[in-house]
């Protein structure tokens, strides 16, 4: 033990002029003064008292001890160690006898007897006092937890969004000590919905307050800016000034367009959501620094599309980072595998919680908050895209020809005029060429997948290669004059053409796949004029 021992003991202030009433009176004199004595852990006096000595006459002691010097200086003559179950639990300190006579053998015997009886009683009193202090501490902590919970629950959504064609489910269970998890749904313009899942480092009231601040800033900026990357960038800037030291917030922010199933998302250091689709479960990858740590952070925006039957699970650490009694972690792979075993919604959440309970065993104390949000596209929205054709081609030079014709056949029944059909031809051809050349690096064994879907107002051609998720490059527009002058490669027209042919261009993907979505509106969108003319 490196800290100094502090002894409180009853002691009678020395009064040399008082009548001799014996040592026992020293204990009953009123008022008994309470004095504290600090004894360093390496002070030999401590060892001496602990070694089972009876009443000690300080005058007879020869020890190089600061505590002994202090005791003598305050006039203490005799010390009676109180020992309970072999442990030194207190000291009885006496000044000189009031008669100014020395303590007699009988006095000392009386003091020894008194110590033998007093020690257990003092020990009991100490334990009671210690227990009372612990109860007070626990009550204070529980009060703090209640306050934190109250703050936190205040900011959790009171109801889930009602989206036609979607089933939304959410689960939140705070750990006993309350972490800083939060989730939110924000109604945005054009029927879009913002979905937030976040986690504040630290626990208790400070974390709850940071959560409340983050929640408030996010709501304002989400409505103002909409684009997820922009929203996180702005929230990060605003939080920097508000963030207490050593705290930060992880947060995944997604904007869902329920009509198309399109999801735009950006991530500030939070767990990656799991997308359950017809081919399995993939993590939607997006990275970025947590909020409130560093200024001027950028957050890339990614997109994914949830087709009917797909579901997305957003989650916090509490589940994947839970531990079994053997110290094994529940883990992200297990979580991903389970996501593939249910369609989504409450069924999935129940499965996850059931598996967690079996994994952690009975009597487990939850380590961190658990937040789960499931967005499940049920397909009952009324304007579900229908698949017109779906096929794959090998990555070979000239591979774009076949798909172009097949796409043209697939959309032949739609209200797409000749001009727009030609544009779609070019866009599909260029996109497949890019997939073969750049995504699959011309490896014939790697397929390019093409999926043609139609909804009430548009047709979409999704072209998927095996090149992994990557944003559309922000390449400058090709400069013909520079190309003619030989200062720019004569090639490099593909992406430029694609951009100019379709009404919407976006990408999605996971660690293995990269998909380009080409969308043509069936009734035109004012892109008919030639930009170059």
């Amino acid at each position: 033990m490196s800290t100094r021992k502090r002894w409180s003991s009853w002691r009678r202030a020395p009064r040399p002029d008082a009548a001799d009433r014996g040592a026992a009176e020293a204990l009953e004199g009123a008022p008994a003064a309470m004095a504290e004595l600090d004894i360093a852990p390496n002070d030999p006096l401590l060892g001496y008292f602990s070694s089972g000595h009876a009443t000690v006459d300080l005058d007879a002691l020869e020890l190089d001890s600061p505590a002994l010097a202090a005791l003598r200086a305050e006039g203490t003559r005799m010390v009676v160690p109180l020992i309970s179950q072999g442990e030194l639990i207190g000291l009885l300190r006496l000044g000189p006898r009031r008669s100014e006579q020395e303590y007699s053998h009988d006095d000392r015997k009386l003091l020894d007897d008194l110590a033998a009886h007093a020690a257990p009683a003092v020990r009991v009193a100490q334990l009671v006092r210690q227990q009372q202090a612990e109860i007070r501490d626990r009550e204070r902590m529980e009060q703090e937890i209640k306050v934190a919970q109250l703050i936190q629950q205040q900011f959790l959504p009171h109801e889930l969004p009602d989206l036609p064609g979607w089933h939304v489910a959410a689960f939140y269970r705070p750990a006993r000590s309350v972490g800083g998890d939060f989730y939110d749904f924000i109604h945005l313009p054009d029927g879009q919905v913002g979905v937030v899942v976040g986690d504040v480092t630290d626990k208790g009231v400070p974390a709850a307050l940071v959560m409340a601040t983050t929640h408030a800033i996010l709501r304002v900026e989400a409505l103002r800016l909409v684009a997820p990357g922009e929203v996180l960038r702005r929230v990060n800037q605003l939080l920097l000034d508000e963030m207490p030291p050593n705290m930060f917030v992880t947060c995944l922010y997604a904007v869902l367009d329920p009509a198309s199933g399109r999801l735009r998302f950006a991530n500030a250091g939070h767990n990656l959501p799991n997308l359950h689709h017809q081919d399995g479960v993939t993590e939607l990858r997006a990275t970025g620094m947590p909020l409130g740590l560093l200024p001027d952070m950028e957050y890339d925006e990614h997109t994914a599309t949830l087709a009917p039957g797909n579901s997305l699970l957003l989650h916090s650490d509490g589940l994947a980072e839970a531990h079994s009694p053997d110290g094994e972690m529940f883990g992200f792979p297990r979580l991903a595998k389970l996501c593939g075993e249910r369609d989504g919604g409450e069924e999935l959440i129940d499965l996850l919680l059931g598996e967690l309970a079996s994994f952690t065993g009975p009597g487990w104390e939850q380590e961190d908050d658990i937040t789960l949000v499931s967005l499940q596209r049920t397909g009952g929205g009324g304007d579900e895209p229908r698949v017109l054709d779906e096929f794959e081609v090998p990555s070979e030079v000239g591979a774009e020809r076949g798909p172009v014709e097949r796409v043209v056949r697939a959309v032949s029944g739609l209200d797409l005029d000749a001009v727009r059909l030609e544009k779609l031809r070019t866009a599909v051809a260029e996109t497949v060429m890019n997939a073969v050349e750049h995504g699959n690096k011309g490896q014939p064994e790697l397929p390019v997948a093409i999926r043609v879907t139609a909804s009430a107002g548009s047709v979409e051609v999704a072209v998927t290669d095996q090149g992994g998720d990557q944003p559309i490059p922000e390449a400058p527009e090709p400069d013909l004059q520079a190309k003619l002058a030989g200062v720019e490669n004569p090639r490099g027209w593909g992406l430029f053409l694609i951009r100019n042919m379709v009404d919407e261009l976006r990408t999605s993907g996971d660690s293995l796949h990269h998909t380009v979505h080409l969308v043509m509106h069936l009734h035109g969108t004012g892109r008919e004029t030639d930009d170059g003319e």
Partner: protein, 133 residues
């Protein structure tokens, strides 16, 4: 759409070398086009080069690059290039790529030959194009 080998034949009309292109224009069109261009300019008397796209079904981005290469060469040799027979779609693409700023685009061969005549040859593509619309 099947892969269609590009064939280019060269003829003369009123001093203008006409390149009749049949097939698709992609990266594989580079060689036949350059070869035809060689033939067209070899006598040294062509007042201009006219590309006939009337039998071209498909032009992709690599084909655009081939045309850019041909145009760069012609500009070095101070020969004007013009074109006709483009579908509405490819006229649009020539517009957005700004190829039509450097290549006179005409609706038919007659107006193209008139536009590409020696009197107009130095007037630049913009003037020629205006005459063809």
């Amino acid at each position: 759409m099947t892969v269609s080998e590009t064939r280019v034949s060269v003829r003369r009309r009123d001093g203008v070398a006409v390149l009749d292109i049949v097939g698709d224009i992609d990266r594989d069109a580079d060689e036949p086009l350059q070869h035809a261009y060689d033939q067209a300019v070899a006598p040294g008397d062509a007042s201009g080069v006219l590309l006939n796209f009337g039998k071209v079904g498909y032009i992709n981005s690599t084909g655009i690059a081939v045309i850019v290469g041909l145009l760069a060469r012609a500009r070095k040799e101070r020969l004007a290039i013009s074109a006709y027979g483009l579908t509405e779609h490819y006229r649009h693409i020539f517009g957005i790529t700004r190829l039509s700023d450097f290549i006179g685009i005409y609706g038919d061969e007659d107006s193209a030959v008139v536009g590409a005549s020696p009197a107009d040859a130095g007037g630049g593509a913009r003037a020629a194009r205006g005459g063809g619309e």
